[in-house]
Amino acid sequence: MNFLDLFLVFLKASVLSSGGLAPLPLLQEELIVQRSLLGSADFASALAIGRIGPGPNGKFVLSIGYYAAGIPGFIAALIGMTLPPFLAIALVRAHRRLATRPWVIGLTRGITASSVGLLTAVAYSFIEPLLGTPALLAILTISLVVLLITKIDPLPVLALGGLAGVALYFTGVSLS
């Protein structure tokens, strides 16, 4: 896959999404299902990295770009991720005229509804490989409960998940 094609994948994912993890389903379909440029584990690692460093959660696309094609992939993702938000300038100008129109609000709601369903589909795809490993399912369940109830920052939860994985490794539990 050449640089331009990869850039267009990231641009499309960015243009057709709004919000941090919203490009995830489209990137998963284009880069894993259709082109096999990276594996599900790389994809999940990219998501974890997106939660670790500074900046928006959506920066995970940069890691996906790197996993897919090294530095050129990173650059393709960087440009594809950065360009669409500049459309915001046109929106600022049109804001008072359009933002309160019912059909625009409805359209935004519709895209958001599809994003919620798609995010759930992505989470489901992460769970499928874990189904044979009860210990990892337990980590998932506990993490979900903790995240939903406490609204805690995800970074320590990720760190604890990683430590739990290491502890399971040393106790001889198979994680693959």
């Binding site: 499309k12 243009v15 990295i49 928006p56 938000p85 709601r109 989470a123 489901y124 939903l148 939860v157």
Partner: protein, 198 residues
């Protein structure tokens, strides 16, 4: 024009100062989107460049365009503070530092995960990532579905379930599901006449 009015553009913040402020926000906003939003508001209000109300308005607008909302927010704030040049400077100054840090973290991650212990840590982190994705979907639905509008909320809930089934189980194209959501939304998810708009 003065900073006290919501929606008023201020075109007097020097570009080097703008670049420095957004670069600082970029490297200081650890902990995901909410941490960065907090840092951004704190930094710009502390400098006296905008008010909290102006930040709130720009944050709302930044949710509309495609792509990463926080980049759009940096672009909008830059536009407010120094017009088109300001939007480019703030956007680039915000994106580059966290992107380079992400690149370094990714390269380090690849090295770490090439040994069994690092791989085990990733397995644990992947389980948490699945939980994070579920939690995000849940929280997005909580905050974006207008639960007080029962008819619209019901229709949106149906579309959420349909999107999941179409993609996860029937492997339908994600693009069609998103575009379908937009079309269905424009036709069916509108607020009632005379009701609250947002």
């Amino acid at each position: 024009m003065h900073a006290g009015e919501i929606g008023v553009l201020i075109h007097d913040v020097p570009l080097p100062q703008l670049a420095l402020a957004f670069a600082k926000i970029s490297v200081h906003g650890w902990g995901g989107g909410s941490g960065t939003i907090y840092t951004m508001q704190n930094e710009l209000v502390r400098r006296g460049w905008i008010t909290s109300a102006q930040f709130g308005l720009d944050f709302g607008i930044s949710r509309i365009p495609p792509g990463i909302n926080l980049i759009a927010l940096a672009v909008i704030l830059g536009y407010r503070l120094n017009g088109p040049k300001g939007s480019v400077v703030s956007g680039v100054a915000f994106v580059l530092p966290f992107s380079l840090i992400t690149l370094v973290l990714t390269m380090g991650f690849v090295t770490v995960t090439s040994n069994p212990i690092g791989g085990a840590a990733v397995h644990g982190a992947v389980a948490v990532t699945a939980a994070l994705t579920f939690a995000l979907a849940f929280e997005t639905a909580q905050s974006w579905v207008p639960w007080q509008e029962r008819r619209v909320a019901s229709l949106m809930s149906v579309y959420i379930v349909a999107s999941f089934v179409l993609v996860a189980l029937l492997h339908m194209s994600v693009v069609f599901v998103i575009l379908g959501g937009g079309v269905a939304g424009a036709a069916l998810f509108r607020p009632p006449e005379g009701g609250p708009l947002l």
